[in-house]
């Protein structure tokens, strides 16, 4: 654990530790890919990512499993609502492609460097510009 804290070192903007070996580390969106690559380089497994509309901002958590310690380390990135753009992990990690496509259609986040920008889950006739998990704006039913 301490080794991971050192590995992220200057990239980390804040640490939180929760029950049952759960770590959350805030990073800036500019340094996210760098932080993720450092974790992958230390043998962590990318589990998934989850984005949440916090109303005032958008928050993305990238969850990495530390299998040998039974812990989960989540990188927390906050995006301002008026500029929902993040760098894509998919060019470095195949596992990130589907979840980034899902976050793009569900919450309207643009991932810079994601080549496949087709929809993953929503129907073809789903109205463009409408994102079901957003808290601002109407969702068609």
């Amino acid at each position: 654990m301490d080794e991971l804290r050192n590995a992220l070192g200057d990239l980390a903007e804040g640490w939180e530790e929760r029950h049952g070996r759960r770590l959350y580390c805030a990073v800036s969106r500019e340094r996210l890919v760098e932080a993720a690559l450092r974790l992958l380089g230390r043998g962590l497994r990318f589990a998934t990512a989850s984005a949440t509309d916090m109303r005032s901002a958008m928050e993305i958590l990238y969850h990495f499993s530390i299998d040998r310690e039974g812990a989960v380390l989540s990188l927390r990135v906050t995006l301002p609502k008026e500029d929902l753009v993040a760098d894509s992990l998919a060019p470095h990690l195949a596992a990130a492609e589907w979840i980034e496509r899902e976050m793009a259609e569900m919450l309207g986040i643009t991932f810079r460097g994601l080549t496949d920008t087709r929809r993953l889950l929503l129907a073809d006739d789903w109205p463009a510009g409408s994102h079901p998990l957003r808290r601002d704006g109407e969702v068609p039913g």
Binding site: A123, W126, P140, G141
Partner: protein
């Protein structure tokens, strides 16, 4: 009842369609084929093409992506083709009624003859429902499309394989 309907009642072939389900009903349907339930002893055969089917078994809550396929598939079936709604999702959309990705329930897309509730229905209930549908061959609902060979509507790419 004509001779065709009489013959059909002895060996109805069924086609299975999932419209966005959790797969439980689907698995229980397959389970009906395996040794304990063995519905093939009633002449019921699960077929791989809607063009061979007499009964259409539908599971799932009808999501936005599947919805356009339902009526198209039903139209491709030879007549008569009875529709059986398997499970609470197909009957009335269950807990997915409020979801943004489900549309109108199954019976808004095709005429449904038998509803089998349950989450999932037990294989015995499914067999009971199918047997009930067999009893309805020759007395389809009034709003069912006319009997006789389907005048295959233009479904893109539908020719050839089913």
């Amino acid at each position: 009842m004509g001779w065709r309907e009489w013959a059909l009642r002895k060996s109805p072939w069924v086609f299975h369609l999932s419209t966005g389900s959790c797969n439980n009903c689907d698995i229980e349907l397959i389970d009906c084929l395996t040794p304990r339930y063995d519905i093939e002893r009633f002449g019921i055969l699960l077929v791989g093409s809607i063009r061979h089917a007499d009964i259409l078994l539908v599971t799932g809550s009808v999501n936005r992506r599947s919805a356009p396929k339902i009526a198209a598939l039903h139209a491709m079936a030879p007549r008569p083709c009875l529709v059986v709604a398997c499970g609470t999702c197909a009957c009335g959309q269950h807990m997915f009624k409020e979801s943004y990705h489900t549309v109108e329930p199954l019976d808004a897309h095709v005429p449904v003859s038998v509803y089998i509730p349950g989450c999932p229905p037990k294989p015995e209930a499914l067999i009971g429902g199918i047997v009930q549908a067999i009893g309805m061959i020759g007395r389809e609902r009034a709003d069912a499309p006319p009997r006789g060979p389907a005048d295959a509507p233009a479904v893109p790419g539908a020719a050839g394989h089913g």
